[in-house]
C-alpha cells in the first residue's frame, strides 16, 4: 500500500473524498436498511411510507429466526458441509500444489491447465449429472452430497492458490531437509507446510466463502428441513405467502456475520493470495 500519486491541490483531494463517500453511501444504505428492517416490529413493516427508524426497535426477529424457523438446523448443516469440504479440499489441494511447485513430471502442464479451465465449467452443467449420480450412490439428502459437491467446486482454485504460495517459498529449504535425509513427504509436512500458514489460511477462507454462499446445489441435492443449508433456508422464506421481511433480514444478517468476522481478522492474507494467481507480482 504505497501511495502512488498525491493530488497536490486541496480541491482535488476534496473531489476524491466526495467520490469515495458517494460510493460508500451506495454500499452502506442497503446494509443499514437490512439492519433497520431486522429491528422493526411487525406493525412497522407494512407502513407506507416506510419508517426509516422503527417505532420501537426490537431484537425479536433475531430470536424468532431460531424459534419459529429451523435456522439452528440450517446453521448446523451449513457449518458441517462447509467445514468438512474446506478441510478435504485443503488436504488434497496442498498435496497437489506442492507436487506441481517442486517436481517436474509428465502431465504437470496439463494438470495446471485443467485447474485453470475448470474455473470455466458452468455449475448448471454439473447440476444435472450430480442430481443423478448422488441419487444412484444413495447420498441424496445427506451431508456427503454437499460435501462432495463443494470439494469439486473449490479444489481446483484452492490448488491454484496454494501453488502460487508454495512457489514463493525458497526451494533451498526443501533441499536442506532432503540432504538431512528427510523423505519428500516429511519435508513437505515438517518444513514447507508450517511456513505456508498464511497461504493455507487464505485458501481456507476462499473455500469457506464459496461453500457458505452456494445455493443451487444445496437446493437440488437436499429435500428435508434437517438437511437444508442457510442459503436454501433464506431462499425459501421469500416464497411464503406473506413475507416477514424483519425475520428475513435478521436471518440474512446471521448469514453475513460469520464471513465478516473471518474477513476482518484475515483480510490481509486473503487479498494477497487471491490476487497472486491473477497478477504477476
Amino acid at each position: 500500500m504505497i501511495p502512488k500519486s498525491s493530488p497536490r491541490r486541496p480541491r482535488n483531494r476534496l473531489v476524491l473524498y466526495v467520490l469515495l463517500g458517494v460510493a460508500c453511501v451506495f454500499v452502506l444504505v442497503p446494509v443499514l436498511w437490512m439492519i433497520v428492517t431486522a429491528l422493526k416490529p411487525e406493525t412497522d413493516l407494512f407502513s407506507t411510507p416506510p419508517r426509516l427508524w422503527p417505532t420501537a426497535p426490537t431484537l425479536d426477529a433475531f430470536r424468532r429466526v431460531f424459534t419459529d424457523y429451523p435456522f439452528a438446523d440450517y446453521f448446523r448443516n451449513s457449518i458441517i458441509d462447509v467445514v468438512a469440504s474446506t478441510g478435504i479440499s485443503l488436504v488434497f489441494s496442498s498435496l497437489s500444489a506442492y507436487g506441481v511447485s517442486r517436481f517436474k513430471f509428465r502431465g504437470r502442464g496439463s494438470f495446471l491447465t485443467f485447474l485453470l479451465i475448470s474455473q470455466m465449467f458452468p455449475s448448471v452443467m454439473l447440476v444435472i449429472p450430480y442430481f443423478k449420480i448422488i441419487q444412484v450412490l444413495g447420498l441424496y439428502n445427506t451431508y456427503a452430497a454437499l460435501i462432495v459437491t463443494y470439494v469439486s467446486f473449490t479444489m481446483p482454485f484452492c490448488s491454484w492458490m496454494m501453488y502460487g504460495y508454495f512457489k514463493s517459498i525458497p526451494r533451498e529449504l526443501d533441499e536442506a531437509a532432503t540432504i538431512d535425509g528427510a523423505s519428500p513427504l516429511r519435508t513437505f509436512l515438517s518444513v514447507v507446510l508450517p511456513l505456508s500458514l498464511p497461504g493455507i489460511v487464505a485458501t481456507a477462507i476462499y473455500a469457506f466463502i464459496t461453500g457458505w454462499n452456494e445455493y443451487l446445489f444445496a437446493l437440488i441435492l437436499t429435500s428435508s428441513e434437517d438437511m437444508k443449508t442457510v442459503p436454501v433456508g433464506i431462499g425459501q422464506m421469500i416464497g411464503q405467502y406473506k413475507i416477514q421481511w424483519n425475520d428475513l433480514m435478521a436471518a440474512s444478517i446471521y448469514a453475513v456475520v460469520p464471513l465478516m468476522v473471518l474477513f476482518v481478522f484475515l483480510q490481509r492474507y486473503l487479498i494477497s493470495s487471491l490476487t497472486a494467481g491473477a497478477v504477476k507480482s
Binding site: L20, S96, R106, V279
Partner: protein, 295 residues
C-alpha cells in the same frame, strides 16, 4: 548421465505421488460428471425409468430454436452489462483507493463489503429495496419528487432487467476492485518517477504508465468475470425467477426450469453442454492471455 536420469525418474515418481490424490478426485468429481452430462444430453429422459436415445436432436433443436437464441441474447446482454459495470466501478474505486488518502483501510473495508454478502442475501435485500409499496427506493424517489407514483420495478421488462443488473453490479464490483488494486501495486514506482522526469502530468502518467500496467489484470478480470456472470443463477432466480415475460430469463434459469420443473433432463443437459462450449471458448482466450502475460 545415469545419475541425472535417476533424478528425473525420482522427480517423476514423487511428483505424481503428490498429485495423484487430487487427480483421482478431479476425475471422479469433475471429469466423470461432465462426460455423464454429455451422455444424458443424448437421451429423452426423466433420469428414472425413461431413457430414449435421441442422439444430437436436442442440440440441433436448440440452435434453431428462437426462444433459446433469445435466452442466450438476454444472458449475453446481462453478462456484458454486469461486467462493464464491475469493471468501470471496480477500476475507478481501485484508482481512488490507491491515492494518498486518509483512513484508506476503512474506505477499503467498506467498499469490499458487498463481496462478503451471499448471493441469496443480495437478492433478497434488493428485492425488499425495490418493493413497490414498502420499498426504500420508491420512498426515496418520491421524497425527492423524482416520481409521483410508486414504480412496480419488476412489472416492466426493461426496469426489471436493469434492477437485476444493478444488484449484480453491487455484488460484483469489489472483486474487480481487489484485482485492480493488486495490479496497481505491482507497477514499479520508478516508472512513475521516469514519467515525471519526462514532464508527464497526472493524465499522462495514467495514460503511459498506469493504464498499460493494468492491461493484463483488466484482461484477466474481464474474462473471469464474464464467464462467472454468464452462468449466474441465484440472484436473478430469487429476484425475478426470469420474469416478467422472460425479460430476465438467463440461460441458467432456462436450464434449471427445463430440468427441475419440466423434468426434461436430456434437453436441459444439451443446453448445459452448449453453455459449457461458450464458456470453454472464453476460457481458451483466458488461458492465452494468462500465458502471454507470464513473461
Amino acid at each position: 548421465m545415469a545419475r541425472s536420469s535417476k533424478v528425473a525418474a525420482a522427480q517423476q515418481r514423487v511428483g505424481l505421488g503428490f498429485v495423484s490424490p487430487s487427480v483421482l478426485v478431479l476425475l471422479a468429481l469433475v471429469v466423470y460428471p461432465l462426460f455423464y452430462g454429455f451422455y444424458i444430453s443424448m437421451f429423452k429422459t426423466n433420469l428414472r425409468n425413461m431413457w430414449n436415445f435421441v442422439g444430437l436432436k436436442y442440440f440441433v433443436q436448440a440452435l434453431s430454436d428462437s426462444d433459446f437464441i433469445h435466452t442466450i441474447g438476454v444472458t449475453l446482454l446481462f453478462a456484458v452489462l454486469v461486467v462493464a459495470g464491475n469493471l468501470l466501478l471496480g477500476t475507478a474505486l481501485a484508482l481512488l483507493l490507491n491515492t494518498n488518502i486518509r483512513f484508506r483501510v476503512v474506505w477499503r473495508a467498506i467498499l469490499i463489503l458487498p463481496w462478503l454478502f451471499p448471493d441469496v442475501v443480495v437478492a433478497i435485500l434488493f428485492k425488499w429495496i425495490y418493493d413497490p409499496l414498502y420499498g426504500l427506493l420508491n420512498f426515496a424517489l418520491t421524497s425527492v419528487h423524482l416520481i409521483d407514483h410508486p414504480i412496480v420495478w419488476f412489472g416492466d421488462p426493461n426496469l426489471a432487467f436493469s434492477a437485476v443488473v444493478l444488484s449484480c453490479i453491487w455484488k460484483g464490483y469489489p472483486l474487480v476492485m481487489i484485482l485492480v488494486l493488486a495490479g496497481l501495486q505491482s507497477i514499479p514506482q520508478d516508472r512513475y518517477e521516469a514519467a515525471r522526469l519526462d514532464g508527464a502530468g497526472l493524465v499522462n502518467q495514467f495514460r503511459y504508465v498506469t493504464f498499460p500496467g493494468l492491461v493484463p489484470v483488466l484482461a484477466v478480470s474481464v474474462i473471469l468475470d464474464f464467464v462467472w456472470w454468464f452462468k449466474h443463477f441465484t440472484i436473478v432466480w430469487l429476484m425475478t425467477a426470469g420474469g416478467p415475460i422472460d425479460a430476465t430469463k438467463v440461460v441458467s434459469i432456462d436450464i434449471y426450469r427445463i430440468a427441475f420443473t419440466n423434468f426434461d433432463f436430456g434437453r436441459a443437459a444439451a443446453l448445459a453442454v452448449i453453455v459449457f462450449f461458450i464458456c470453454l471458448a472464453f476460457s481458451i482466450v483466458y488461458r492465452r492471455i494468462v500465458r502471454d502475460t507470464e513473461v
